[in-house]
């Protein structure tokens, strides 16, 4: 696996539309059989990147290689790539079965093999017996499944997913995420998924690339991406994160002390800082402990007093927004960890917040 050449390779790929830079110098490679998710907000260039790999757009500069071969001159219909579109793009004048048959006919599969392959792939997406249904007779989830079967039936080298789940409701979306994972693992097809949904990225992928403003911000596996975001954008885009701005007063090893409004916070620095430099600290809501006013948390490095300004009940957890006078106007978000003996903090209650140095990540100001 390590020795085989990467299936997909992007080398300094850029795409400009007039003056607008949609993709700025993207580099990555993808090993056979893995699932990559390109995560980013709308307009970050992730879909353009996907469309270049599919062959619908050509890069302004740089090179895309598939199976080690440059593909600039290869039209989409000659690439072995299955794609599931955001709007699915199922052919409404055909049945589910005919949709799945279409690529097999276009790619000249032996006619005697086609019915069996169609049955097989409809089976894989659990749509056995739905072959003769018209597209508009299927539910949203069933249409997703047809689109997946159609993109996979000709056994492509690469599967591209362009946010196909974004239109579904939350429950169905989460169900389909697991379903995708199941199908991908069963078939082992190399997949590139594009989404703005961080949960989807974390659930579905072996590797995540975070993009913003056309540029790749970080490329890592889900756990390291979540634990060690390499910059402020990644830290704030994934998870519920509170941000505090300040000025460095002292550095010691990886620990950096910085002044925020009327207090000094201790954080974990990813890079070297100068005293006096402007920095931003990011702390995830689940890393912050919340206590009633009278208790003094032990073995915590940062301890702050504050007042609950919002209390949001999310069913499986309680989210607090706490205003700390010593931090100025910046609110801190907290997930309540203690579901067994709920200590409810009401709006207006005085509380104490605390967290460990290693959980407060410090980045240079952008």
């Amino acid at each position: 696996m390590e020795n085989s050449p990467p299936l997909v390779e992007l080398i300094d790929v850029s795409k400009r539309f007039g003056r607008f830079i949609a993709v700025d110098n993207a580099n990555f490679s993808l090993a056979k059989g893995s699932v990559l998710t390109i995560l980013g907000p709308s307009g970050c260039g992730k879909t353009t990147l996907l469309r270049m790999i599919a062959g619908f757009e050509s890069p302004t500069s740089g090179e895309i290689r598939i199976n080690g071969e440059p593909v600039q001159a290869v039209p989409p219909y000659r690439r072995s790539i299955g794609m599931v579109f955001q709007n699915l793009a199922l052919f409404p004048h055909m049945t589910a079965g005919e949709n799945v048959t279409y690529p097999l006919k276009m790619r000249r599969f032996p006619p005697q093999d086609i019915p069996e392959l169609v049955e097989r792939y409809l089976g894989i997406v659990r749509l056995t017996g739905m072959k003769d249904r018209r597209i508009h007779e299927l539910s949203g989830g069933q249409q997703q499944r047809v689109a997946i079967a159609r993109a996979l039936s000709f056994n492509p080298d690469l599967l591209l997913l362009d946010e196909p789940l974004s239109a579904l409701d939350k429950k169905l979306r989460e169900e389909m995420q697991l379903e995708f994972r199941r199908i991908q693992q069963k078939i082992g097809v190399t997949t590139i998924n594009v989404t703005h949904d961080q949960r989807e990225a974390l659930v579905m992928s072996d590797e995540i690339i975070v993009m913003a403003d056309g540029a790749i911000q970080q490329s890592a596996d889900p756990v390291s991406l979540y634990r060690h975001p390499s910059n402020m954008f990644v830290a704030s885009f994934i998870g519920l994160t509170s941000l505090v701005k300040g000025t460095v007063v002292q550095t010691e090893g990886t620990t950096v002390e910085f002044n925020v409004d009327s207090t000094i916070l201790c954080g974990n620095a990813g890079s070297r800082f100068e005293v006096g430099q402007s920095v931003e600290g990011a702390i995830r809501a689940e890393q912050v402990r919340i206590h009633p006013e009278q208790t003094r948390p032990e073995e915590m490095d940062n301890v702050l007093e504050g007042v609950v300004s919002e209390q949001i009940f999310e069913g499986d957890r309680m989210v607090y927004q706490v205003q700390c006078p010593s931090l100025g106007s910046t609110p801190i978000f907290v997930f309540d960890h203690d579901p067994t003996h709920h200590v409810l903090h009401r709006k207006g209650d005085s509380v104490v917040l605390s967290w460990n140095v290693r959980d407060l990540l410090v980045y240079p100001c952008r």
Binding site: A54, G55, F56, P75, P76, Y77, R79, I81, G82, M83, F85, Q86, N87, A89, F91, P92, H93, Y102, P103, M106, R107, I135, H136, R150, A151, F154
Partner: protein, 316 residues
């Protein structure tokens, strides 16, 4: 309803509108509001009604034979006019020529209009789209007769084209007063209608459908045949019906570019009324034309649906 508290603080516009509303309530009480939509149909119904009256009168004329003694229609009813129209080889030729011409014009026009409409919808540059739209509409504003004379200027014996031909030492060509000239004129006249009816159907096809087809292994010709054409079916039906019926009933192009050599049905009807003074025969020919046109539309609609002309609710 609760009465609205009168306030002199309201702007004058509001008070005027309130007064207008009260007057309207007297004329058209609230209980009748659910029928307001039907009220809007009245002008259209009146218009159709006038047409139907005309059709009934024409139908009436067609059943009276011309009395050659005094050049008036006889009092007695007979089917003589229809008998004449159907048995006369002249009229049979005219009817067949019109039908064949309409078929030819429809096929060629759609063939030319489809790429035009496709390009107009899909062109990336806004300028290209605007250019195509304007060049489509420009001749649209010029009347049919002016355009027919335009063709005479180009194709006539001393016309532009023949000037070039004679310049190179060839003898001038017979380019007008024949069937191809009529067909050419009609195609040019019908093209904008066809494009305008095709464009919405092509707009309705999501570009991703074509990209999906390509990524599934189809090159553009296959994509066109298997995806674009079937999905543009409503537009194809709509524009075919319009072009066919407009051509079938056309008068000016056969008259001017045909020069009396290639009459369509409408020209024969005109001759019946005004050259032969036989309004009975003209009326019979009119009834035949109406029947042919209606039959065509009914057949197409029952086979293929109403297309973009039906504004069908179940559109995908």
């Amino acid at each position: 309803m609760t009465s609205v508290k009168q306030s002199s603080h309201f702007p004058i516009k509001w008070r005027l509108l309130d007064a207008a509303e009260r007057v309207a309530a007297l004329v058209w009480p609230r209980q009748l509001h659910s029928y307001t939509g039907y009220l809007l149909l009245v002008p259209a119904l009146l218009l159709v009604f006038v047409l139907v009256i005309g059709l009934i009168y024409i139908g009436g004329y067609s059943l009276h034979e011309l009395d050659l003694a005094n050049y008036r229609l006889k009092e007695s009813f007979s089917l003589t006019n229809y008998y004449t129209a159907v048995t006369s080889t002249t009229y049979r030729t005219v009817v067949l020529r019109s039908l064949y011409g309409s078929f030819l014009v429809t096929v060629i026009t759609i063939f030319l209009a489809f790429p035009y409409a496709y390009l107009m919808v899909r062109a990336r540059e806004a300028m290209t789209r605007k250019f195509l739209l304007i060049s489509l509409f420009l001749p649209f504003f010029i009347g049919q007769i002016v355009r027919a004379y335009g063709w005479l200027i180009i194709l006539g014996k001393e016309g532009l084209l023949n000037n070039i031909v004679t310049f190179f030492g060839f003898s001038p060509l017979e380019l007008i007063y024949n069937y191809p000239a009529v067909i050419l004129g009609l195609i040019q006249y019908m093209l904008p209608f066809a494009v305008l009816l095709l464009a919405p159907a092509i707009t309705a096809i999501n570009r991703d459908m074509e990209l999906a087809s390509e990524s599934l292994g189809a090159h553009w010709i296959q994509t066109f045949i298997h995806i674009v054409l079937p999905m543009a079916k409503p537009g194809l039906i709509g524009s075919s019906v319009v072009v066919f019926t407009l051509t079938l009933t056309d008068f000016a192009m056969p008259e001017i570019l045909g020069g009396g050599t290639t009459d369509f049905i409408a020209n024969s009807i005109y001759d019946g009324f005004f050259q032969l003074s036989n309004s009975g025969l003209g009326a019979a020919l009119s009834m035949i034309l109406v029947t042919l046109g209606t039959a065509f539309v009914v057949v197409i609609f029952s086979i293929a649906g109403t297309g973009t002309l039906g504004f069908s609710r179940r559109s995908k």
